[in-house]
């Protein structure tokens, strides 16, 4: 049952990804990319990573499309003769080679959710968090405990990065918008 769903979901994500890469009309790409985001959210949800799925849902459904659209308004959307991008042969070759290299490692991966996965029985990290997260922080969601507690300093850095990136973009845009005249 599960493998049937997995297979179709995989086909869906793959189709949407290829369509996103190949369509020429940028507006169509934005729309199709939203479908890709839906597929990815399902993927994360299916792999029981609800935190990530939730992020994908909140950002993919609400924010990405809108910001991309506004960016498209600022630039131009050329009239197109063809529907699909003509793939670049050399890029395809590189892609194929990379794909083969990465695919060769696939057979060595543990099955999804397998208890033998190295990350799972790593006593120094994963097991430690699982065993001690609640006792240390009294927070039920271990992801939050890790993010805000164990590696809180990292998270602080990330938050500042988001802030700094936001400020930097705002500065650039502000200059463009208000010094145009």
């Amino acid at each position: 049952m599960i493998s049937a769903f997995e297979a179709v979901l995989f086909a869906f994500v793959l189709t949407t990804a290829v369509a996103t890469a190949l369509l020429r009309d940028i507006l169509a790409v934005i729309v199709v990319f939203a479908a890709y985001s839906l597929g990815m959210a399902l993927f994360y949800a299916f792999l029981l990573a609800p935190d990530v799925a939730m992020t994908e849902a909140a950002i993919g459904a609400g924010v990405t499309t809108l910001l991309l659209l506004l960016a498209l308004v600022k630039t131009s959307r050329p009239d197109l003769e063809t529907r699909f991008e003509r793939p670049n042969v050399s890029a395809l070759v590189v892609f194929g080679a990379l794909f083969l290299v990465l695919a060769s490692t696939l057979s060595e991966f543990p099955a999804v959710g397998s208890a033998e996965a190295p990350i799972w029985d790593n006593p120094a990290v994963t097991q430690y968090y699982i065993e001690n997260a609640y006792a240390d922080t009294h927070v039920e969601n271990a992801v939050t405990a890790v993010l805000a507690g164990y590696r809180g300093f990292d998270t602080f850095g990330e938050a500042v990065v988001v802030f700094a990136a936001g400020i930097a973009t705002l500065t650039v845009l502000h200059r463009e918008v208000f010094t145009r005249e």
């Binding site: 009309d25 009239d79 197109l80 003769e81 063809t82 529907r83 003509r86």
Partner: protein
């Protein structure tokens, strides 16, 4: 083994699947964006409605099933709005609805409607 609840759940899921199938067939078969929007609303209403009802029934009386009802409520409020926004934009764009005496093809309808040309499908 198979109790009444399971049967009800399976029937509801089956109905939901059927209407979503009809809707997908409609979106693929129908000639223009307006008619497609009609059957898109089938997936939104009965397809989602029956399936979410099945989920709520399977979950029983707990937080999860209340959330399912909320899901249905939000879908019923937002999706017609989305369909309206789309068809309204189509109308603002000058896409004329297809009628039975209309023998234009899909691509021609599109070409009539808008400045961009989008011809070559022969990639």
């Amino acid at each position: 083994m198979v109790d009444v609840q399971s049967v009800a759940v399976i029937v509801l899921v089956g109905l939901g699947l059927f209407f979503t199938f009809v809707s997908t067939a409609g979106v693929l078969r129908l000639p223009d964006v307006y008619s497609r929007a009609h059957t898109a609303s089938q997936a939104d209403t009965l397809g989602a409605g029956f399936t979410l009802a099945a989920v709520a029934l399977a979950l029983g009386l707990e937080t999860g099933s209340y959330k399912t009802v909320l899901l249905l409520f939000f879908i019923f409020v937002t999706n017609p709005t989305a369909a309206h926004a789309i068809s309204r934009a189509a109308e603002e764009d000058g896409i004329e609805p297809w009628t039975t005496d209309d023998d234009r093809t899909d691509e021609e309808l599109y070409r009539d409607s808008k400045v961009e040309t989008d011809g070559g499908e022969n990639e």
